[in-house]
């Protein structure tokens, strides 16, 4: 398709400019908040949709390249739109469309300067993420990466009056920059000593690095992008920053920004570096497994709903990294059909996670607006007060728990199929690792269901735990539209995976040289290898369950009766039932805390028999923080205290330093 010489890359560039313009317009119009919320955010959402469409268009086209007359003298900026970028642009556009529509309703209570700045930062953040995906040289990439990091830092610290939020923002900024340094060093290594001008990705592809230097580049990239993705042990900023940010921003960060790190790992590993080593895959697989189990375990014991979702994001990043690790292993051993399968699973899960995690995060935003409460132990029974939010979030919960026929199940199914097809690798260590890895994945998936039952059950079901919840109101119009879009995405991705997977072939062909070529089963059946080996049809599955349910309802009501009475709850005849007898979030997580006790640092404060005001207090903390971060912090402080010996703030001291330096230099001359 060629519309009079316009290329997808031109459209994508225009879209980025439009986002920036909308952000600036928001800043200029900060006196009229109604225009910002009702016009600018929806307009930004339409731009997102256009970006998704552009990505879809670019997927089938030849990679477009552009050199911008911007940047430093003699260092122009390069852009490139290939299938990998196009896929992530679809992800960015599709998920941010729903989040922006939701934001139109969510930010309605904000006014003035705060709203104007927020509008600018929000659109700058979106534009930054799009530029990261389009960058084709290290310079452009780092500029876009930093734009993304800084704008999101300012978004996280929107409520900067709260000290905890400032602290969370600082931690985020710190780890983001440690990661950025690693990425920059990685680019330096990949450039391969070709001198100035070889900072483009094209030059990096052409540079043939030795095994040692490729491995160094890979490790630096894994560290740098891992810091952004929340890979163990660089995950500590995630559960702090996500709850601190306004909910739509948490949705963007968790749903989309983490995926830019996945994009970065894929870009470096399969595109910029020309050969891979098998142990890279094993490393990624092992780190991914640790991250997944760690994330879901901590999610199970959280009491704050946004922290719970943040830990669940860590789990999902772990799963994605497992997929990448498998892909590397298969690709190294020349099993490209399998590599295509596990890469498809990874990409599909990225897309799914963008949809369901954004949905859940903006849903918590609606709850926060309605109740002002983030602590799950003070919520409950919201399904009666907020039926829309409850229904749409149920879709998200079932999707993320990996249940058929929703989208989370499809990517889980694909990943497990990749494991099942893996025997016969020529490395016996890997052959031993793979079944264990499959078992850990299954465990993480089952625990995710536990976490999600807890999340949904405590917030939406049961009796309201606080009297104030009686006045909770449902999500507004814009919020509902945003939630519905993302929920619809989860259902559509769950029911028609074949359409998406056929498009994904273009990406896998680019990265591992082979596509899945799902043609055996038609669009109804997902058949990664052949029909005899494995197939799954979500549409038939849904029809069968619905059909059986319908028959049951008809038969029961036709042959018996539909009489129904309402009465007080039975509860084994126990007379005095109060809302406080239900499980709190801590109570529901207690078995997990008990089973995985060695992994947590647990502080319990139990009341004694003689307390007149008995209080219970429990905390489960991260041991990594204690054993890794605090020592690093102490060392840094000690080093900086030595440096401070030189600094006394007196001008004559500094003058004498200058004098001594001069004398020493003169002595050399």
């Amino acid at each position: 398709m060629d519309i009079v010489g316009v290329l997808p890359l031109d459209v994508a560039g225009t879209i980025i400019v439009l986002w920036l313009a909308l952000g600036l317009l928001g800043l200029a119009l900060q006196g009229s908040p109604l225009i910002i919320t009702n016009l600018i955010f929806p307009a930004g959402a339409l731009v997102s949709l256009a970006l998704a469409a552009t990505g879809l268009w670019a997927l089938g086209e030849v990679a477009g390249i552009a050199v911008l007359p911007l940047g430093l003298p003699d260092l122009p900026l390069h852009l490139r739109l290939d299938p990998l970028s196009a896929f992530f642009l679809i992800l960015l556009g599709g998920a941010s469309f729903g989040v922006s529509l939701f934001s139109a309703g969510y930010f309605r209570t904000m006014t003035g300067n705060t709203l104007g700045l927020l509008c600018l930062e929000y659109h700058l953040f979106l534009a930054g993420m799009a530029l990261v995906l389009l960058a084709d040289d290290a310079y452009m990439f780092m500029v876009a990466w930093e734009t993304m990091a800084l704008s999101s830092y300012f978004l996280v610290t929107t409520d900067h009056h709260v000290p905890d939020i400032r602290k969370a923002g600082y931690l985020y900024l710190l780890i983001a920059h440690v990661g950025a340094i690693a990425i920059l060093l990685g680019f330096g290594v990949m450039q391969g000593g070709q001198g100035i001008g070889a900072y483009t990705f094209a030059a990096m592809r052409a540079a043939h690095l030795s095994v040692f230097w490729s491995s160094v580049a890979f490790l630096l990239a894994l560290f740098g992008f891992g810091a952004k993705a929340g890979l163990l042990p660089l995950h500590v900023w995630l559960p702090e920053a996500h709850p601190a940010a306004p909910s739509p921003v948490s949705a963007l960060m968790s749903g989309i920004m983490l995926k830019t790190a996945i994009y970065g790992i894929l870009r470096v590993t399969f595109d910029l570096l020309d050969v891979q080593q098998w142990w890279w895959g094993v490393l990624a697989l092992a780190l991914g497994l640790l991250t997944a189990v760690f994330g879901v375990m901590f999610a199970a014991v959280q009491g704050d709903m946004k922290r719970l979702l943040a830990y669940s994001s860590i789990e999902n990043i772990g799963l994605l990294l497992v997929g990448i690790g498998l892909t590397i292993i298969f690709h190294v051993y020349g099993k490209d059909a399998l590599a295509a399968l596990s890469l498809t699973a990874t990409l599909y899960h990225s897309l799914n996670h963008a949809f369901f995690k954004s949905l859940l995060f903006i849903g918590t935003g609606s709850i926060l607006h309605a109740t002002g409460e983030r602590n799950m132990g003070k919520l409950g029974g919201l399904i009666h007060r907020m039926p829309w939010t409850a229904m749409l979030m149920l879709v998200g919960v079932l999707s993320i728990a990996g249940l058929p026929p929703f989208n989370g199940f499809v990517s889980e199914w694909l990943l497990l199929q990749a494991f099942l097809l893996s025997p016969g690798l020529p490395n016996s260590y890997i052959n031993m690792l793979i079944p264990v890895a499959a078992a850990v994945i299954a465990l993480a998936a089952a625990l995710a269901a536990y976490v999600m039952v807890k999340f949904y059950g405590i917030i939406f079901l049961g009796q309201p735990r606080e009297p104030a919840l009686e006045h909770a109101h449902d999500a507004g119009r814009w919020e509902r539209i945003g939630l519905s879009w993302l929920a619809l995405g989860c259902v559509a991705l769950g029911l028609a995976p074949v359409f998406v997977i056929q498009r994904l072939d273009l990406v896998t062909q680019m990265l591992v040289g082979q596509g899945l070529g799902n043609s055996a089963g038609g669009w109804l059946f997902l058949t990664p290898v052949d029909t005899e080996r494995a197939s799954y049809s979500p549409v038939f599955f849904l029809l069968a369950v619905l059909g059986v349910m319908l028959v049951t309802v008809l038969v029961v009501h036709r042959f018996y009766h539909g009489r129904l009475r309402r009465g007080p709850a039975w509860d084994c005849g126990f007379p005095a039932q109060t809302a406080r007898m239900q499980d709190t979030a801590e109570g529901f997580g207690q078995p997990i805390r008990r089973i995985f006790e060695p992994f947590f640092k647990i502080e319990n404060e139990l009341p004694t028999a003689f307390d007149t005001h008995p209080r219970y207090h429990g905390r489960s903390d991260d041991r990594i923080w204690l054993y890794l971060y605090l020592p690093v912090k102490r060392i840094t402080e000690r080093l900086s205290s030595w440096v401070s010996l030189l600094q006394h703030g007196r001008i004559h001291l500094y003058l004498s330093y200058t004098f001594v330096t001069l004398v020493v230099l003169l002595a050399f001359v």
């Binding site: 199914w413 499959a438 089952a446 269901a449 080996r533 049809s537």
Partner: protein
């Protein structure tokens, strides 16, 4: 549509009807055996049907604050379990619906039903309901991966995740003992006990708050809702036992296109189910209920056994 395809669809319908009627009968048989083993005379094989009829005739009473989720869950539960029992090849391997849902999807169906019943248990907001939901999820987060690993072992041996292909492949290897399957079988028995709320993990006949898991979740259900939940539980037991038969004792099943072997296959199935039910009752009588916090260790054993089975297959190829 060819002759075989239409016969296949007809047979799929037949099996669906067969399992839905067979399930309460199996529960009745297990209860009867338990009664005999405990020196009681027992209520007879048809008691589950009588209970169901009684429940269907009653007026449903639900709590004031029950949400639509609570009312729809029994139907979802029944639908999922019926589907699960209907797609496991127990009489013949020609099941036209099977390409739509393979073993991983089967585990997904069980998970879907479990999540819904746990959510429904939390819906009323009673202490017992949330307690039951929490314990159910606790048991299942170890049982589900163990089940998946058992199924993986079978899938790797037969090079397919489709149930009919697995059963076909295993039935053709006449009485060859796979070491990996031996481990998997042991793990499967533990998972079966745990997932169907049997002793030693749960006790289907108790209302003692310290011990109940499944019963605590369904306390608030009455009349037709309760009937459907109970029927779904019977179907789940049948589905698990069928799965065990399909994976470990598939011999005697009717092969593709061999419709003449059907009557014999049905007779063989009935014998297998009778033996399995009696075995289950014997196991339950011999074992003692364990404390709830011993259950994770018990299930952890199943998980490890299943992973060992898988590992043995990867390393030895057997």
């Amino acid at each position: 549509m060819t002759m075989d395809q239409s016969l296949g669809i007809l047979f799929q319908l037949y099996q669906s009807l067969l399992v839905v009627l067979l399930a309460p009968l199996l529960t009745g048989w297990v209860n009867q055996c338990r009664a005999w083993l405990q020196n009681r005379s027992g209520p007879g094989l048809l008691q589950p049907f009588r209970t169901l009829r009684k429940l269907f005739h009653k007026d449903a009473v639900i709590a004031h604050n029950a949400s639509p989720l609570f009312r729809i869950t029994p139907y979802i539960l029944f639908g999922c379990m019926w589907l699960a029992a209907a797609i496991i090849p127990i009489v013949a391997v020609d099941l036209p619906f099977s390409p739509a849902a393979d073993v991983i999807a089967l585990v997904g169906v069980f998970a879907l039903a479990r999540v819904f019943i746990a959510l429904a248990a939390m819906d009323i907001g009673t202490a017992f309901g949330t307690l039951g939901a929490r314990r159910e999820m606790l048991v299942s987060f170890l049982a589900e991966p163990a089940l998946l690993m058992v199924l993986f072992t079978a899938s790797l041996i037969s090079q397919s995740t489709q149930l009919p292909r697995i059963v076909e492949a295993l039935a053709h290897h006449q009485f060859v003992l796979y070491p990996s399957l031996a481990f998997a079988g042991l793990a499967f028995v533990i998972v079966l006990l745990a997932e169907n709320a049997r002793i030693p993990v749960d006790n289907p006949g108790t209302h003692l708050e310290l011990t109940m898991i499944h019963e605590a979740m369904i306390l608030e259900y009455s009349a037709r809702h309760l009937a459907l939940v109970e029927w779904a539980s019977s179907l789940k037991l049948l589905a698990y036992i069928s799965l065990g038969i399909a994976l470990f004792f598939p011999h005697g099943i009717a092969e593709v296109g061999n419709w003449r072997a059907l009557p014999l296959a049905i007779a063989v199935l009935l014998v297998k189910l009778t033996l399995a039910g009696a075995g289950l009752a014997l196991l339950e009588t011999l074992l003692a209920k364990m404390r709830i916090f011993r259950a994770p260790e018990f299930l952890g054993t199943a998980f490890l056994l299943a992973v060992l089975g898988l590992l043995i297959h990867f390393l030895l190829g057997a």
